[in-house]
């Protein structure tokens, strides 16, 4: 008989129900205590950065969605803002508003999916179905808007592809009234559940110092007490025109990461409602301008206002050549800062596209958090970090 080693090496993944995708964790266990942990990534590497080099900007725009399939609008926005700032294209205000509304709704849908899967990791099955039920309503709205449920390909350089369908905004408003009630329901079943508290309070504490050191951004960083929200400051797009709070928590444990996302969803609903209220040109059915896309960019056009345009100017899809230059865009995505660094050499194809994705850092910090904790806690910690694997591997 072989003698039992004191430490056991266990290989979690690449196929494992707890890793939310294709991630491999090499864990050294002593009993149930994690002594060492090494994440192995790259199973979903699709070469998104390399693919950009052989495609035109417009061809690549359809691929951008796939960087993170749960928050497509943010990836699109990230790429569009970068290219727009190279090509010096101004985005009309109406288009910016449409982007903000869709992005914030996307943030809610992404957080809802996270909430369900996080609770599933902890062993509670029902919340998954509740959150999917509500996410379904959002996806239905996106489908009506962009024709797709996950990969929207809805933004284009200089604006968005089309206006809201008739009555769409009313549906959004109705949903925005429903959702806070449903969030209260989640809170009723989850927030004060003693077992949930036991499993999450004080578990996986991410201190401010470690979080900054590892480049953690987004809700995970804000849960550690750092008030970093790019929407508020410096404020890209038209976010400066809305009033909303930057949600922060101090402890940085799994419980705070849960609370902060619930708060963020409420803030997002606020932003969406404000944006609908302020939407330049009004709702589509009450649009004052007869021809919203007359093609000019003057502020006081006879036919249209720059405010109410959807795209700044018609861009030749085949021959779109931004000038030589480079730009970085920083977007506050649901998981943190998504940044797209585009280098253009004046040809049809981007010279280099570099994606900075928040989940990459979130996986990297995992050994720091999980070492010394129990194996069961690993799933709570990993779930609370909200990692989307395609985004890690790109």
């Amino acid at each position: 008989m072989q003698t039992l080693a004191k430490q056991m090496k266990i290989n979690v993944g690449p196929q494992h129900p707890g890793t939310h995708g294709v991630l491999r964790l090499i864990i050294e266990l002593e009993g149930e205590v994690i002594k060492n942990l090494e994440p192995v990534i790259g199973y979903l590497h699709r070469g998104i950065e390399k693919l950009a080099e052989s495609r035109t900007y417009y061809q690549y725009l359809t691929m951008v969605d796939r960087v993170d399939y749960l928050s497509s609008f943010f990836n699109l926005a990230s790429f569009c803002y970068a290219v727009e700032s190279i090509a010096k294209i101004k985005v009309p205000r109406r288009a910016e508003y449409i982007r903000v509304i869709t992005m914030e709704l996307n943030r809610i849908s992404s957080h809802l999916l996270w909430l369900g899967t996080f609770l599933l990791d902890l062993g509670a099955t029902s919340p998954l179905f509740y959150t999917f039920r509500d996410r379904e309503k959002l996806l239905g709205l996106f489908e009506e808007l962009a024709g797709a449920r996950l990969l929207y390909n809805f933004y284009s350089f200089g604006g968005v592809k089309q206006d809201f369908p008739p009555n769409w905004l009313n549906k959004v408003k109705k949903l925005c009234d429903e959702l806070p009630v449903l969030f209260n329901e989640y809170e009723a079943i989850i927030t004060k559940n003693p077992i949930f508290l036991e499993r999450t309070k004080g578990i996986g504490i991410l201190t401010k110092k470690v979080a900054l050191d590892y480049g953690i951004t987004g809700p995970n960083l804000r849960a550690s007490g750092v008030e970093t929200d790019l929407r508020k400051e410096p404020g890209y797009s038209v976010y400066n025109e809305f009033s909303f709070d930057v949600c922060t928590r101090q402890n940085g444990d799994c419980y705070d990461r849960y609370l902060i996302r619930l708060d963020e969803m409420r803030q997002s609903i606020d932003i969406v409602l404000q944006a609908i209220e302020k939407l330049p040109g009004g709702t589509p059915d009450k649009l004052l301008i007869k021809r919203p896309n007359c093609g000019c960019s003057e502020e006081n056009c006879k036919y249209c206002g720059f405010d109410t345009l959807l795209t700044e100017k018609k861009i030749n899809l085949v021959n779109f050549k931004p000038p030589k230059g480079e730009a970085t865009s920083l977007i506050e995505a649901p998981r943190g800062i998504t940044s797209c660094y585009v280098v253009s050499d004046g040809t049809k194809n981007p010279y280099r596209v570099r994606w900075r994705t928040p989940s990459f850092s979130n996986v990297q910090v995992l050994p720091e958090l999980a070492k010394g904790s129990l194996y069961s806690d690993l799933m709570a910690i990993f779930g609370s970090l909200d990692v989307v694997l395609p985004e890690v591997d790109r």
Binding site: L29, A124, S126, I195, R199, Y375, S376
Partner: protein, 372 residues
């Protein structure tokens, strides 16, 4: 029925000893076979209930309203290839599901489903049941070890640790019942719970003399511990799917997996029967008399038919209580997340064990103040 059976033997001039021996066997096989079917529908019930809790429809394709879904699943499982990984310990791997399944089935023979429907009337039935169910744990650790899979091994270890630490409060809670009834014989325990508190028009209902009143703490402890014994959420650590894939039965497929699956639901059913026998008066009606007696007493005079009717009603009462407890357990499954290993142990040793001792104390005082 038993008399009838013996009469057949006498009629055929076979020694009645054989009848006395073979009767429990037949009864047991009958009960077990029927209950396996019941258990199969338990799976359907669970899926339907979970669907109800989570705003879904549940299985609705096979048969009317998905009625035969579990049969389809069972048939699929039986026809599946029985995969055994290369380095498994083949003998133990095969034995494990049997060791897990058999004790649960034996318990079916020891529980009184009605006054007469009891295969084996053991003098220390409760003790025997508690002893036999512990064997199931060996099945878990065997399967965990023999699978040669680290998830299974972790699941097996967790299963044993959990079963051992929850057995103690469970047994102590059961001891409280023995103190109340001054017996370990299950029919005696049931009979003791009849009669009400005082002979009054209303207070003589059986419901007031059920063990759940004096042993309320014991009920809580017993219920929680039995959840842990049958590995249900929030104590489903041995097969925590987000951590251990499927725990001790990760490597199993086909019939062996079906056996594990069946045993789990059979255990769920029998533990609920046991809870209703120990705390909710078993097959007793909650009123002072059986309903069928009240209705048919005047115009059915045949003792045998009346007895049969009473037995059927007793089974119905027991099932009603059992399914109520099953419903609660499934409700819990839809509500709660899973505990962690150390929290599970803490909960057992630091909370349930003192509580069960307190229960024993209360029950003893109760028995001292109101002797039998």
């Amino acid at each position: 029925m038993y008399e009838l059976y013996i009469k057949i033997f006498e009629h055929l001039s076979i020694p009645t000893v054989f009848a006395q021996i073979s009767w429990p066997m037949f009864l047991f096989i009958g009960i077990a076979a029927t209950l396996v079917i019941v258990v199969i529908f338990l799976v359907l019930l669970e899926r339907k209930l979970l669907a109800l809790f989570t705003v879904r429809k549940g299985p609705n394709r096979v048969g009317p309203n998905g009625f035969f879904q579990t049969f389809a699943d069972a048939i699929k499982l039986l026809f599946k290839e029985d995969i055994m990984a290369t380095n498994t310990n083949k003998i133990l791997f095969t034995i494990a599901p049997i060791v897990f399944f058999a004790p649960v089935m034996v318990v079916y023979g020891l529980v009184p489903f009605s006054e007469n429907l009891l295969a084996i009337n053991a003098a220390a039935g409760l003790f025997l049941i508690l002893a036999i169910t512990s064997i199931s744990t060996i099945g878990i650790v065997l399967s965990g070890w023999a699978s040669n899979n680290k998830y299974s091994l972790l699941g097996g270890i967790r299963g044993v640790a959990q079963a051992i630490s929850y057995e103690i409060p469970l047994v102590l809670a059961a001891v409280g019942i023995c103190v109340l009834a001054e017996s370990m014989n299950l029919p005696t325990i049931v009979q003791w719970q009849s009669g009400g508190i005082v002979n009054n028009i209303f207070l003589n209902w059986n419901i007031f003399s059920w063990n759940m009143w004096p042993a309320a703490l014991g009920l809580v402890v017993f219920f929680i511990c039995s959840l842990a014994e049958i590995n249900r959420i929030p104590f489903d650590l041995p097969e925590a799917e987000s951590e251990l894939v499927s725990g001790y039965n990760t490597e199993y497929s086909g019939m062996k997996f079906a056996l594990f699956f069946l045993a789990e639901y059979a255990a769920l059913f029998i533990i609920c029967v046991l809870i209703s026998v120990l705390f909710f008066g078993g097959y007793l009606s909650p009123f002072n008399d059986y309903l069928c007696l009240l209705i048919f007493k005047n115009f059915i005079t045949n003792k045998i038919i009346l007895n049969l009717l009473v037995n059927i009603e007793q089974i119905a009462w027991l099932m009603l209580k059992t399914y109520f407890i099953i419903f609660v357990i499934m409700w819990i499954r839809a509500t709660l997340p899973r505990l962690r290993t150390d929290q599970l142990m803490n909960f057992s040793w630091k909370f349930l064990l003192p509580l069960s001792l307190l229960n024993l104390f209360i029950v003893a005082i109760y028995r001292f103040l109101f002797p039998l």
